[in-house]
Symmetry: C2
Subunit: 144 residues, 2 copies
């Protein structure tokens, strides 16, 4: 059936959370918000577009920083109130320069810097001792 952005369930401010995920690695890069127009523009242009709550305006990710997000797959959840935007990220996703905004972990009750991805990265180079060729069959069976 045809998709209509108006059929999503937005909050009182007209926004819906969007999880940005790297299409190749599965890494969760950031969580931002979209309104119906941002959803429509993301689908129409393939350039992931959010609504900036701080600036109160549409925000084409990377338009100023160059760190753009090219849409690979747009998904909605079972109750239509959350989005999963699978994308190809140019440069870091985080305004701090980190690849992902989720670089802080809570371990043993303390906040620790955790720059490594929280999830497997099939596309990442294998650590010393593992042959690089071993990573390829694993990716061959993936959606990456």
């Amino acid at each position: 059936m045809d998709f209509d952005p108006a059929t999503l369930r937005y909050d009182a401010g007209g926004l819906i959370p969007a999880v940005a995920q790297d299409h190749a690695t599965g890494e969760v890069l950031m969580v931002a918000w979209m309104n119906a127009e941002a959803v429509a523009r993301t689908l129409a242009t393939g350039e992931v577009t959010y609504f900036s709550r701080s600036r109160g305006e549409l925000w084409v990710k990377g338009r100023t920083s160059g760190h753009r997000q090219r849409l690979v797959e747009f998904r909605l959840d079972c109750d239509r109130d959350s989005l999963l935007v699978v994308l190809a990220q140019t440069g870091p996703a985080c305004h701090t320069g980190a690849r992902s905004c989720f670089f802080t972990a809570v371990r043993a009750g303390a906040e620790v810097a955790a720059p490594e991805p929280a999830t497997p990265e099939p596309a990442a180079p294998r650590p010393a001792g593992a042959r690089r060729g071993q990573a390829r069959p694993a990716r061959a069976g993936s959606k990456g």
Copy 2:
């Protein structure tokens, strides 16, 4: 530094979005909400606990369905207003029985059922023709 759930940035309703991600595959399973107590209980018990907006109460995921979520890694984002909960999922995460709540994709302007994960699954069984042993080195270098 010690982590205090009160230092997260909650919305006007005292809630913060939490992205649930499978620790082994990187698949985004669901997005739900936590309040400060849900954050504290998730960290204290290792059982991922949300705040149900529909029921207006704490929700230990899987307590009734058995489809529990064991905490593997708890992360917060750069501006402390979103959470990434990396976990081990027992059974399906979605109340529909689907593994992930994000089983609907928008492709060419239409909603389509997309039961396959939107992202790579390094831990998933390899397709025919790939030897199972090839998946192991890929996982050995991951956080999964």
